[in-house]
Amino acid sequence: MNDLTSYLGHVFGHLRKDLRIEWRSRDSINGMLFFSLLVVVVFSLAFDPTAAVSRQISGGILWVALLFATVTALNQSWTREQNNQVLEAQRMAPAPASALFLGKALANMIFVLVVEAVLAPVFVVFYNLHVLGNPWLLAIILPLGTWALVVNGTFFAVLGLRTRNRELLLPLLLLPISLPALLEMVQATTGVLTAGLDPIQINSWIIQLAGYDIIFTIICLLLFDTVLNAE
């Protein structure tokens, strides 16, 4: 029990540190926000959708916009740790390495959730969206989908830390691994927006997404120590 509280204390410490750094600069959130907004505008101009069509495609566009925005932000999330050799200090610290990972992933999750909260009304306005299904389901789908993107993205971003072409490597790794999650969240979101799917099917997509989240969270936590000290 004591171990757990101290572990959670470490996670919370890392989370607080990341939030404070972000609060002072607000680089990631501003960057992500503007980037995803641009994607929304670009898709809108490129496809010029009617209301019915936009209901069909906006679930996909929302997630593609978030996926790309997440990639741009995650690339920077570990570079902060490299300034002044903070990362080396983290590696030597007796605290569990997975707490560092979990704290950072949670911080990134919060950033992306903030972006989603701002982006959702924009979507409704620009695409003339009128949700036909149960909108409260989105409150489950969005966090689950975001976690699926962020947990693997944070993990792969640390892989790229000491590689060449860091900015290029993250999407190359993240996109193939995330494709099943992307399929699950887009199907569930579109199902809610269009009310075209049976609620049982939407539930099953949500359960699959939750399963994906759990499996990859466990793998990331288990392997993070190996990756941080890979040499």
Partner: protein, 245 residues
């Protein structure tokens, strides 16, 4: 470059294996092209089956080699670095051969699809899953290329674990996706006529032998590269010791 002297028996076994694989492939070719009966509805185009399915099968088997070699690497990384290097060479060799076989499977599949269904590609469950398998292993090889030599082994092994976990999830989600939408119905391969089995089995056997041969060859090559690297490192250390005051 250090000269690695391999025992003559190993060398002879490799040659024997090589010619054995070629001979069996030749038998398979004769069976597939000249002996197997022409398929009733598709005609001669169906003969691509004898090459498509064995390649696709090998593309599904060799990822397991990659996965277990990567696990072995992660296990031995700290405990026995020399064994770990061997496991890593095996992982690299099997990943490269996987990509080759999956590519052949995809390309021959496209040719066949064009001839018998009239389309090059469809987002059917099996095709999509297979394409994702290809994407995963290409990204694995890209990671190996991009990361610096000191740590690429570990990072690649980690990604291999991710890919291996991802494949069943991909399979489940895509099957679930595609079974709830109406999609072009393909009856799979159906049942194979008994007269077609010999051609099929000879080719599976031949391509299996060939694939294993290429993996071992690539493995030996990678081992040589690793040994040369170690040798260079040793020479560099010795040189630095001599110049030290």
């Amino acid at each position: 470059m250090p000269i690695v002297i391999r025992p003559a028996i190993l060398r002879n076994a490799a040659w024997l294996w090589f010619f054995g694989a070629l001979a069996i492939l030749a038998v398979g070719f004769r069976e597939a092209i000249f002996i197997a009966p022409t398929e009733a509805t598709m005609g001669d185009v169906q003969r691509i089956f004898y090459y498509h399915v064995p390649s696709a099968l090998m593309g599904l088997i060799f990822p397991y080699v990659n996965f277990f070699a990567s696990l072995a690497y992660l296990y031995w990384r700290r405990r026995d670095p020399l064994k770990a290097l061997a496991a890593d060479a095996l992982a690299l060799a099997s990943a490269e051969v996987t990509v080759v076989f999956v590519s052949i499977g995809l390309l021959t599949g496209m040719l066949w699809a064009r001839a018998s269904w009239g389309i090059w590609w469809t987002w059917d469950a099996r095709l999509t899953t297979y394409l994702l398998l290809w994407l995963l292993y290409v990204s694995y090889l890209l990671l190996r290329r991009f990361s610096s030599s000191g740590e690429s082994n570990t990072l690649a092994a980690v990604i291999s674990v991710f890919a291996a976990v991802d494949v069943p999830i991909v399979y489940m989600s895509i099957h679930w996706w595609r079974t709830q939408h109406p999609s072009p119905v393909f009856s799979g391969n159906g049942s194979l006529d008994p007269s077609m089995w010999p051609a099929f089995l000879w080719n599976v056997f031949g391509w299996g032998l060939w694939g294993v041969f290429i993996i071992l060859f690539r493995f030996a090559l990678e081992r040589r590269r690793q040994l040369a690297e170690q040798d260079d490192a040793l020479t560099a250390i010795e040189a630095s010791l001599e110049t030290a005051p």
